[in-house]
Symmetry: C2
Subunit: 198 residues, 2 copies
């Protein structure tokens, strides 16, 4: 309840412009009750970012459960994350808070992006071992490029269209990058992005 | 003087946390003198973003003057922009302001990214016409992907390393994307990223 109310405010107005009083007003609770759970606005913001981080491993797990092929899974992760950025307030607020929280608050959180970079790097390495991803690409640099490009696309798409063109942007990105990742002729079946775009 | 002092504050503390008084203190001018130039904090912020936008066409021009080959120019643009993001306070502040200014202030500015998207789309189209970029890629989608990926890399690099790994991230991105853009065998000479990375 408190987290939802705060996420709504942080995602639309940003951290500095949303006061604890605004958040309290959004909850329908008394100020005392809100304070009992969270002693400060910063504590609520940290909880939102932690919930966003906690949502990624299940997201990755759900993608892996559906896609046995590592290259399919890699591509599907980005569409699934795009869906979450487009529909989930906690994620929208969490991403914005990471850019706006003061440095001493950020220091209480794990580093952003590195969890994703590590997960995608493992996925690429596993895929290469199984002949599903081209051996020639460097797993860590590729994972870093995919993660940063994803976050760039979601940010640009947010600023220009409220994330309405995010799926189209992912389609364009994968058209450009996927051929490099496909196993050389004779490897496992090539991945297909078209099923992810819906 | 005012713009420089404000850019320093906005780039490190963000828009909401930097007051007009803080900015005045940074200029060594009287409050009245600052107000004479800029009636509000928002006006200073808008000027910073406008100066950032105004810096892109000369940047693009300087790259085109050195690189006759369109694919070389496309790659070089991203390294040159990375250099500017790493060293120029107005650019650092401008980018942050675009994410933090209230909507009514943003409405007074041109849309972000679209200038870059248009410029790179023209560059790709020209390159295709001259056989320097592969005909098979779609110019607009490719330009959008490069622009969003660039801004993602600069943002992730800023948050994780204060932009120290930005050039390395660009190297990884181009390793992944460049093969798709190279003209099919028989086209013009292939681009080389190594000269841009220094």
């Amino acid at each position: 309840m408190i987290v939802e109310a705060a996420a709504t405010l942080f995602s639309t107005r940003g951290y500095a412009s949303a006061s604890l009083n605004d958040i309290v007003a959004g909850t329908g609770m008394t100020k005392g009750a809100v304070y009992w759970h969270f002693p400060s606005k910063e504590e609520i913001a940290l909880e939102i970012v932690r919930q966003m981080y906690a949502s990624w491993p299940p997201l990755l797990g759900s993608v892996m459960a559906v896609h046995a092929n590592a290259l399919d899974a890699l591509v599907a992760c980005t569409y699934k994350a795009a869906e979450q950025f487009s529909s989930d307030l906690t994620t929208q607020a969490g991403k914005r808070l990471l850019a706006e929280l003061p440095a001493d608050a950020l220091a209480k959180l794990p580093q952003p992006y590195v969890g994703w970079q590590g997960a995608l790097c493992s996925l690429i390495t596993d895929g290469q071992r199984r002949g599903e991803i081209n051996d020639a690409v460097e797993p860590e640099g590729t994972a870093q490029a995919v993660v940063a490009s994803f976050f760039g696309m979601q940010q640009v798409s947010w600023e220009l269209t409220g994330r309405r063109d995010l799926v189209g942007r992912l389609d364009n990105f994968w058209k450009l990058v996927l051929p490099q990742l496909r196993p050389a002729a004779g490897g496992a079946a090539a991945a297909d992005t078209s099923g992810e775009a819906g």
